[in-house]
């Protein structure tokens, strides 16, 4: 299986994502932002970082990149897409996911390990987890405070589209939301960084299951 990782100017978790994908047993493929081709990948990760310096708003400029047009088509056709941190922000700016990520309520960048619970696991990126699974995932962001209007929140809650919830909210996020998916459930955005918890040498390997999930979802044994 080939999993692509988009690289925007200012992405900085791209190499970490590529590494985690390789550890999960898939073939990592770099997708340069100015290149429209998705190179025939089977799934795409939009990694963390500060695309375009987070200038204007995180993700605001990146979403116009050439690669994003193809990514939208890929997503609309049901292809598995995962946005992590800045990737989540990019996907909301591109309207592939609802809502927006506001400045952390306490106004500080926060880098820590957040206890989280998996809620809905019927997505390609979470299929190896059980609903209710708890684990601790690294977070590192300045704008992780999930917001959507009341109607949208009610809708994603009702439709079981909250994928991940904080057990201790690090940023003021509505309903403690740490991750959501789209209606088709193939596009997932996570504020925590599973790729940073994908190697026991760093203290935790449980995040690797996110990448293994997409392999297993595609019918490939991890």
């Amino acid at each position: 299986m080939r999993i692509g990782v988009t690289v925007f100017p200012g992405s900085n978790c791209d190499r970490d994502a590529l590494h985690a994908i390789e550890r999960a047993g898939a073939t990592p493929v770099e997708l340069w932002h100015a290149d429209a081709s998705l190179k025939g990948v089977d799934a795409v990760v939009v990694p963390g970082g500060f695309s375009y310096g987070d200038y204007l708003r995180p993700g605001a400029i990146a979403r116009f990149a050439k690669v994003m047009g193809s990514l939208e088509e890929f997503a609309n056709a049901g292809g598995p897409v995962l946005g992590v941190c800045n990737g989540f922000q990019v996907l909301t700016e591109a309207h592939l996911l609802p809502g927006a990520l506001l400045r952390n309520a306490h106004m500080r960048f926060v880098c820590s390990r957040a206890p989280v619970r998996f809620e809905s696991v019927e997505t390609p990126w979470t299929s190896l987890f059980e609903s209710g699974d708890q684990l601790t995932l690294p977070v590192a962001h300045n704008e992780g405070n999930y917001f959507a209007d009341e109607k949208t929140i009610a809708q994603i809650e009702d439709e079981g589209r909250v994928v991940l919830r904080y057990l201790e909210n690090p940023n003021g996020s509505l309903n403690d939301i740490a991750g959501i998916c789209n209606e088709g459930r193939n596009v997932v955005g996570l504020m925590p960084h599973p790729e940073r918890a994908s190697d026991p040498a760093l203290g935790s390997g449980e995040g690797l299951k996110v990448f293994e999930s997409v392999l297993s979802f595609a019918g490939i044994k991890a």
């Binding site: 605001a60 909301t92 700016e93 927006a100 959507a148 003021g172």
Partner: protein, 78 residues
Amino acid sequence: MADTLKIRVLVRPKTGILDPQGEAVRRALPALGFEGVRTVHIGRLVEMEVESADEVEGMCRRLLANPTIEEYEWEVVR
């Protein structure tokens, strides 16, 4: 620069949207000895020199503001 227009765009958080920055400033003011400030909201100021104003509305809608959380207004200032 000949024939450019100066455009000013004001982008602000929509009413009802959490504005952590504005909140932080409002809370800080009394400690600095500034009383009597009821509300503070913080947004973005974008100033551009453009060749024509035709595309400004589109830029605001698609790029400079995020309609989910922000509203904007713009004007030609020169």
